[in-house]
């Protein structure tokens, strides 16, 4: 029992270290719970780097409302239960005024009730549509939904006159959610999903699934792969190994330069819907996003020593939307900030131009997605 009290005491001491007194010039505390380690670290790591980077920058420029920003960031390891615990900690002990983060849909959904109850604005960085549908008063998100990714791909398929499609998805949250949405909206685009294969986390060879797909009676005219991280690179390589000979579509989950490096020559000709950030240099100078995405890309790559990804970009968008809302609200009150976030119009972020409303807590439409093809080892904007 002494042991237990010792540990309880230790935890309490650790928490006290965070709980600064709340006098007038105290910093504004912004909370974040991200999957910095674990299966979603591929997404969570650039998000955490981005938040740290930009909070420092904002503080160097004088902070917000004359006060410094302070980031309280916890790593949930991708576990929803742990995310929920950290969410409670942010609200109860750290007394943050708003939260940016929640790397996966699962962790975000686990945290939402905590922030809703505390009336603290929460900007999720996950893709799942259920985060903002139905609309919850204090919950927002910055990434495009996976439903939009499906629609963008199906739209492109329709233009190319391809209707018989094979779907291969990872069984993780991202893949499962996008698979679900694609199956749901395929009919609206006249697309027929004739093969529906899946693979587990950490699987290293998808040739059996692709072989099955190739042997579907009637064949497939195109293949869509819904997943992020290692899986899509392996699928792309297996796809080339088997010489499938039909177009391959990846999702916005591969929107990071490392995908091209990992998939190598096999990535040639792969198409994907992604945010403008990927093709920053190719945007015409009059594109409203050009300046923002170039600035983010240059700063991230020069300080972090790794290629930029759209996932870090979502964190940038979330933080900036929040900071601008705090400025407009001229307050750190949760409800006022929420109202200000909801009033966001024409915010130019890395993911697109954001127009929020009381009924739309994401504020992006299909135009935010660009169709991109990989040519000569680099991204090529094709529409």
């Amino acid at each position: 029992m002494q042991r237990r009290q010792f540990f309880a005491g230790m935890a309490a001491a650790a928490m006290l270290a965070f709980a600064a007194p709340g006098h007038a010039q105290a910093p504004i505390r912004i909370g974040s719970v991200l999957s910095v380690t674990g299966p979603a670290s591929f997404l969570g790591d650039p998000e955490a780097r981005t938040l740290r980077l930009y909070i420092d920058r904002i503080n160097q420029a004088g902070g917000v409302l004359g006060r410094r920003l302070e980031l309280v960031l916890y790593d949930d390891g991708g576990d929803a239960n742990r995310a929920r615990t950290f969410a409670t900690r942010l609200v109860e002990d750290d007394r943050v005024i708003a939260v940016v983060g929640g790397t996966t849909t699962g962790t975000s959904m686990a945290m939402i009730p905590v922030f809703e109850e505390a009336k603290i604005p929460f900007i999720s960085l996950a893709g799942g549509i259920e985060i903002i549908e139905p609309v919850k008063p204090f919950t927002f998100k910055t990434p495009h939904t996976d439903k939009m990714a499906c629609e963008k791909i199906f739209d492109d398929l329709r233009k190319r006159g391809l209707t018989r499609v094979g779907l291969i998805s990872g069984t993780g949250g991202f893949g499962a959610s996008m698979r679900n949405q694609c199956l749901r909206v395929a009919g609206e685009f006249g697309i027929q999903i004739v093969a529906d294969e899946r693979y587990g986390p950490g699987d290293t060879d998808m040739t059996p699934q692709l072989t099955r797909m190739r042997n579907v009676p009637g064949g497939v005219q195109a293949v869509i792969n819904a997943d992020f991280g290692q899986g899509p690179a392996i699928v792309t390589r297996n796809f080339a190994q088997l010489n499938m000979g039909v177009p391959l579509y990846q999702s916005h989950g591969v929107a990071s330069r490392s995908f091209i490096e990992l998939a190598g020559a096999a990535a040639e000709g792969v198409r994907l819907p992604a945010a403008a950030l990927l093709v920053a240099e190719q945007l015409p100078d009059n594109d409203p996003q050009k300046r923002v995405v170039m600035a983010y890309k240059q700063l991230y790559e020069s300080t972090q020593n790794q290629p930029v990804s759209t996932f870090g970009g979502h964190a940038y968008d979330g933080l900036m939307i929040l900071v601008e809302a705090i400025k407009r609200a001229n307050s750190t009150d949760g409800t006022r900030i929420r109202d200000a976030i909801r009033a966001t119009r024409g915010f130019v972020g890395t993911g697109g131009v954001v127009n929020m409303s009381a009924t739309d807590h994401m504020g992006l439409d299909l135009s935010a997605f660009r169709m991109i093809e990989i040519r000569n080892g680099t991204w090529k904007l094709i529409d």
Binding site: S41, F42, D205, T207, P208, Q209, Q230, I234
Partner: protein, 290 residues
Amino acid sequence: MDQLLQFVFSGLTVGAVYALVALGFTLIYNASDVINFAQGEFVMLGGMVTVFAYAAGVPLPLAALLAVAVAVATGLALHRFAIEPARGANAVTLIIITIGASILIRGIAQIVFDKQFHRFPSFSGEDPIAVLGASILPQSLWVLGGAAIIVALLWLFMEKTLLGKAVRATAANRLAARLVGIDTALVLALAFGVSGAIGALAGILVTPITLTSVTVGTLLALKGFAAAMLGGIGNPVGAVAGGLALGLLEALAAGFISSTYKDAVAFVVIIAVLFVLPQGLFGKRAVERV
């Protein structure tokens, strides 16, 4: 037919890696009764060290050698600083120590390296080779050949060298081995070192196909453990057979039954085999030491 052959290629390549991990389990188990759940981290180290050394400009063969050295050192350190101080503790306690060690190794690796996925070039290019309508990557041949050579070398070492005989004697009966003058502490250290090397080699061979990151070890440890048990723990032949069988099972299940439940099919078969052969395919019939 070509479909079946494609599944077999896939299963053998994946299975060869499971086999090498299972072999690492077996070596350490024989010398110490420890199920080393940090075995997957050796595979991770093999891949990650090679990736980072290669990226820093070290030629690939040298980078690979360095990775093996790091994994061997990690194996020896694991034995010296975690297993040896707990000598005499029961088997479950030692297993928990190896789980702690795997968390520790991964924790350090994600600070030293990063959290991204990586690979380095295949040894003999990327052009697939067509065989009877199926296709196989040259790197898969490297994996299969490499695994075969490692198994052969290990067999030669065990059967033909004095040190190898000492290892086998220790595995058979530790007390008797000590009585005839075998330095069992040395044998133990050797087992951890060699397991580290085998794991690292597996990681180096397979990274061009499977990619690597600091997190790949956990799942490989799980699959390698299952493979070792399927083959019968303590038997090197069983480890290799178990690994290949598990890989084939997964590929065939994914190809013919359901890609969603291929792991389920694999485990159901393992459990079914254990019902019939409670000591695994090649397990010793001896009573287990508890």
